[in-house]
Amino acid sequence: MSPRPGFVLEVDRSTPPTLFWNGERYGLERLPEGARVVYAPEPLDKIDDPVAAIRHALEHPVGDSQPLSTLLRTGMRLTICFDDVSLPLPPMQAPDVRQLVIEEVLDMAAAAGVDDVMLIAALALHRRMTEAELRHALGNRVYDAFAPHGLLTQHDAEDPDNLVDLGQTDQGEEIEINKRAATSDLLVYVNINLVAMDGGHKSVATGLASYKSLRHHHNPGTMRHSKSFMDAPASELHTANWRMGRKIAESVKVFQIETTLNTDTFPSRFAFLQKREWEWSLRDRATFAASSAALDRTPERVARQILQSIKSPYAMRSVQAGEVEAVHALTTANVWEQQGVAVSGQTDILTMGLPYICPYNVNSIMNPILVACLGLGYFFNMYRGKPLVREGGVLVMRHPTPWDFHPAHHPSYIDFFEQVLPQTTDPVEMSKLYEESFATDPWYIHLYRTGHAYHGVHPFYMWYWCAHALEHLGRVIVVGGDPKAVRRLGFSPATTFDDALEMARDVVGPSPTLTHLHSPPLLMADVT
């Protein structure tokens, strides 16, 4: 049977309760009759021989590009950059597609006699990856061949000796990116496009940039005018990155390799998490009951370890290589083919259960700022056309929102939460008053460069990511969250889902429409 497309269910009396993620837990909620539930498409068929598909893509590039083998030559300087630990989510089962692609690129480079090769994790301002994370992304063979010789590095946006100024765009945006990458004869970028937002010129213009460069598009103005991040033509974030990418292309030869994945998100023992509830088998029901009860009784830290250990059975759906924009057009089409769901009309109340993981807490804690970012920055933006929820509508999220931070990964988040949010939740005001001091703070910079800390400015970016939703929504309600933490975010806490709906009615009226975003697996709503 071929995979079924995405689906919008209208809840009636016979509809079983709906699965809601709740951080490191999950449970069922009975939605009111007439509510809609948006389900992701089923996983499309995987590529049977991904290695052959990669080889084919490298030798049959799209756009204005030569086959990779003809771009490689003895004596050249080759740099391979790759997406970091924030992709995919959850981390995929080995072998990771980055490993498969990079091994092929390296085989070709070796065959061409290229011996000046360096690998760079394109961190932007993210935390440095651990050895285990690098080994998982690249495989032991690649790691052991490069890391011991210092040829596997991680982009350091605060290393003035390894950044280069490539001028400005016609809008005056400064471009400062990784020097080794920019001064190579060929820059090969290896991407995983989990959602439509990823990839394209954003790979190099963001992933290899410094704060000086990133601030031109990671700011409240740009974020507010990105409607949405998943729809590049309507995204100011992407428009700015495209300007920068085209400027970079004037002096840097980039060979872009992008991959897409299917939506096979959870391993078989958690298969119920990506099924439609009325199709749960007896085994699914038993697994749900047992696992949710066990997680409810498990200390949060242990539950986090259990869930963070999940490796997704994602399979590669497509691989395309060559010139950045031509590649990305194909990539985006492939992502939409897998994740797109047609939805007719907006809703008064949008509900969602937030899972345990987002791009910035892999092997870490989902702190309150990341909860906000996942709900308002990511899930809210999983649309094209119009937001799922109408302007002035209410977003109801379920997440425990613990007042808890990973001190090594998110040190500046702690200070942002304690020192900035009590003063203001307005992205524009905080950017004026506080951003620069956080961005240039020597301790945060030290921890970013030498430890595993996100850059000092990163919590601001997470908040800016919410800017469009904050402006659009009438209220944000968090069900089951730590009330103090929720209020600190400027949101409203609710004890139960029913309480949240009552509170939402105060904003949108007594007979609201309600739509539930049943994700993960990831889906993108094409709202008309």
Binding site: P407, D415, E418, Q419, S437, G451
Partner: protein, 425 residues
């Protein structure tokens, strides 16, 4: 007349100490403090006046005394039995003169400057400190015609504020309360004077970053004093005034009184680090990071081992830590003090202050009255109790922060309410 008397009783002292392990202020019920019927003490000599208390506050040193936790250092500086209470606003039973020599009519409202220095003790010539108006540093608080007692409220001859019978005060201890001040404002003048003295002697310079650890009465008074005195040109203007306050109402009050930011004590060091753009030693998540730089001046308004250690960890090299909260015997690691050449200085009581290059010193109490009037520190008085509910009053004072309060006082006004009155803080 109802009077709370503190007697020397080792068994009761021990009982109070044990009881206080269950919470500050719990020693009142079992310790040496008793409610008795007593008369006002006799006037010790010329120049002395009888004061009938209206409100009398309970301060941290009172709590430590009642709980048997005071340092043994004070043993020779007090005389038993004594009536506690040194934060006093009251009325004069008969006319007299005040500290500045001005006449005071019968019934005049006065606030007590409780230090019993050379003048009150009729010691001539006065000690060097008293000779220049620094009565807090008086060398004779255990000598002269009065029995030992560093302040009224710790001396067997003067009585104290926790008595309806009244106390005796020397003219040099009396300050007229300006007409615009409520009793609640006036009863905070003494702790505010302590804060003013701490601020004026902290060697703050323009642009300094200042941190205040603790937001009880003293911490909030230091905040208010620094904010007012710097705004009115009496002392240097700091670039920041960050306050570590455990409870939300304390954080709100700190900001209202002039703090640039108020945070939980655990966050204070992080805020200081960020403001000073300092680095920090150790893992980034530890509760009390050791800063490489830090605040120029830290006011420790708690006086515990933890607070002193924390202060030393967040002051910059060659910075200054002012101990405003009364410490006892504490275990403190002085390695950072030595290594970073930090000045750890005490800040006790009051006297006179020199402002800028002015030739004549100003009385600390006069400055304190200005601060009280300008910032309305009477809002810190959260609840008042009659004397016969002293156990509840002291327990309330001992858990003030937790219970949303700041300053607890005894209400001895002629027609006090029959039950204690709690005001929103």
């Amino acid at each position: 007349m109802k009077t709370l008397l503190f007697e020397r009783s080792l068994p009761r002292f021990a009982a109070a100490r044990v009881a206080s392990t269950f919470g500050s202020g719990r020693g009142a019920g079992v310790g040496p403090l008793r409610l008795v019927d007593a008369h006002a003490p006799a006037l010790p000599g010329d120049g002395w006046h009888r004061v009938l208390p209206l409100l009398s506050g309970i301060c941290g040193s009172d709590l430590a005394t009642v709980d048997g936790r005071s340092s043994r250092y004070f043993e020779d500086l007090v005389s038993f039995p004594f009536v506690p209470g040194h934060e006093v606003v009251g009325t004069l039973e008969s006319g007299g003169t005040g500290a500045n020599g001005s006449p005071l009519a019968e019934g005049a409202r006065v606030v007590l400057e409780p230090v019993l220095g050379c003048t009150a003790r009729a010691i001539e010539p006065p000690c060097p400190a008293c000779a220049v108006g620094q009565i807090g540093d008086c060398e004779h608080v255990a000598f002269g015609h009065l029995r030992p007692g560093l302040q009224t409220g710790f001396c067997a001859d003067t009585g104290g504020g926790w008595s309806a019978a009244g106390l005796v005060a020397h003219a040099s201890q009396l300050h007229r309360v300006p007409g615009g001040l409520r009793d609640e404002d006036a009863v905070t003048i003494e702790p505010v004077a302590c804060a003013v003295h701490a601020v004026m002697s902290a060697d703050i310079r323009d642009g300094d970053s200042v941190a205040v650890l603790g937001a009880g009465t003293l911490g909030l008074a230091v905040t208010a004093s620094l904010a007012h005195l710097s705004a009115s040109g009496r002392c240097a203007v700091p670039s920041s005034l960050a306050v570590g306050a455990r409870y939300p109402h304390q954080q709100r009050l700190a900001v209202e009184l002039g703090a640039t930011e108020a945070l939980s004590p655990g966050q204070l060091a992080r805020a200081v680090r960020r403001r000073s753009r300092s680095l920090a030693l150790g893992a980034p998540g530890i509760r009390a990071p050791k800063l490489t730089g830090g605040a120029d001046v830290v006011f420790d308004c708690v006086g515990s081992a933890d607070s002193i250690n924390q202060s030393l960890a967040m002051v910059r090299p060659r910075g200054r830590v002012a101990l405003v909260g009364m410490p006892g015997r504490v275990h403190v690691d002085l390695a950072p003090l030595w290594h970073r050449e930090v000045a750890l200085v005490g800040a006790y009581a009051y006297g006179t202050e020199r402002i800028g290059g002015a030739a004549a010193p100003v009385r600390t109490f006069d400055l304190a009255m200005e601060v009280v009037a300008a910032l309305g520190t009477g809002r810190l008085v959260s609840a008042t109790y009659p004397l016969d509910r002293f156990e509840e009053a002291v327990a309330h004072a001992g858990s003030a922060g937790r219970r949303g309060a700041v300053k607890i006082a005894f209400d001895l006004r002629p027609a006090p309410g029959t039950v204690w009155k709690e005001r929103p803080t």
